[in-house]
C-alpha cells in the first residue's frame, strides 16, 4: 500500500513501451533498471518509457534513464520519455533532463518522434 509500483514491458513492432506505474524510488528503481536492461539485451533500442501513471520519481529512477541513453543512442535508438505530469516533471527539469532527453506528450507522440532525427549534442 505505501509503495505501489509496477513496470510493464510491451513490444510493439519496431519499438518497445515500458510502462511505469506508481512510485519510482531507490526501492523500486532496480526493477525499472532490470526492465530496460532486458529490452536492451534483446537488441531493442527504440524505447518509449510511458510515465503517465508514474506518481513519483527520485534520482534513483532518473539515474536509469541516464545510464542507458548513451548505449541506446550509439545503437541508433533513443529513450523517449512520455506522459510526465507536472508534479513528476519537476526533478527532470531541475537536473536539466529536458535539454538532453526527448519528452513527448504521449506514446503516440513518441512513436511519431522516432521517425525524426534524434536530439543529441556531440
Amino acid at each position: 500500500m505505501p509503495n505501489p509500483f509496477s513496470v510493464q514491458t510491451v513490444n510493439e513492432g519496431d519499438h518497445v513501451v515500458i510502462r511505469l506505474e506508481g512510485f519510482v524510488d531507490a526501492h523500486t528503481a532496480p526493477q525499472f533498471e532490470q526492465a530496460v536492461q532486458t529490452v536492451v539485451d534483446q537488441g531493442q533500442h527504440r524505447i518509449i518509457v510511458d510515465c503517465e501513471k508514474m506518481t513519483y520519481i527520485s534520482s534513483a529512477g532518473l539515474g536509469v534513464f541516464m545510464g542507458f541513453i548513451e548505449e541506446v543512442r550509439d545503437e541508433g535508438g533513443d529513450i523517449k520519455i512520455c506522459g510526465l505530469s507536472p508534479k513528476v516533471k519537476q526533478p527532470f527539469e531541475i537536473l536539466g533532463f529536458d535539454s538532453l532527453f526527448d519528452f513527448c506528450a504521449d506514446v503516440a507522440g513518441a512513436k511519431e518522434r522516432f521517425s525524426q532525427p534524434v536530439k543529441r549534442e556531440e
Binding site: P2, S58, S59, G63, G67, Q90, I94, L95, E121
Partner: protein, 145 residues
C-alpha cells in the same frame, strides 16, 4: 515572544522499503506547516534523496539492524529537517558535482541526489563525525503570501 514548535520524529530500520513511510512522514509535517502541494513535493523528494543516501552509502546497503533517524521541526517560519545516521560518513565537499552530460557520457546511474537536495531546499548542511554521528540539516522556509 515564544515560538510554538511542532516536533516530529521517525526512526526506521535502514532499508529502502522504508522510504515510502519517510515520505509520508515529511508530507504530514509539511502539510501542517502550511506548504502548498508543489513545496511539499520538493520536501518529500529532498528527504527521500537524503535518506536513500544514508541507507545506500552511510550504511552500505540494506541493513535493518541500523537506524535512519528523521526529525522534522516546524514553526511559523520554516520546516527544518534533521537526518542522522551512525554510518560511514563522508566528506561532502570532496564530492565533485559533475554535469549531467558528463554523467551520461560515463554511463553513470548515480550522482544526482545531492544536487537535487540543494536545489529543492533553502539550506543543506552536513555535520559529519564518522563513528559517532553524521547529521544533515536542511531547511525549507515558508513563503508568506
Amino acid at each position: 515572544m515564544e515560538r510554538i514548535e511542532r516536533k516530529f520524529l521517525l526512526k526506521v530500520p535502514s532499508s529502502t522499503e522504508n522510504l515510502a513511510l519517510i515520505r509520508e512522514f515529511v508530507t504530514s509535517a509539511a502539510q501542517q506547516a502550511g506548504f502548498d502541494a508543489s513545496e511539499i513535493a520538493k520536501l518529500e523528494l529532498a528527504v527521500d534523496e537524503a535518506c536513500a543516501n544514508v541507507i545506500e552509502h552511510a550504511y552500505g546497503g540494506q541493513d535493518v539492524t541500523k537506524e535512519v533517524v528523521v526529525r522534522a521541526t516546524l514553526d511559523d517560519e520554516a520546516l527544518s529537517i534533521d537526518i542522522e545516521d551512525t554510518g560511514r560518513g563522508f566528506d561532502p565537499d570532496s564530492i565533485k558535482q559533475e554535469e549531467l552530460e558528463e554523467l551520461i557520457n560515463k554511463r553513470k546511474t548515480g550522482g544526482l541526489g545531492m544536487r537535487l537536495m540543494k536545489s529543492l531546499m533553502d539550506e543543506v548542511h552536513y555535520e559529519i563525525e564518522p563513528g559517532k554521528k553524521n547529521a544533515l540539516h536542511m531547511v525549507k522556509r515558508l513563503r508568506k503570501t
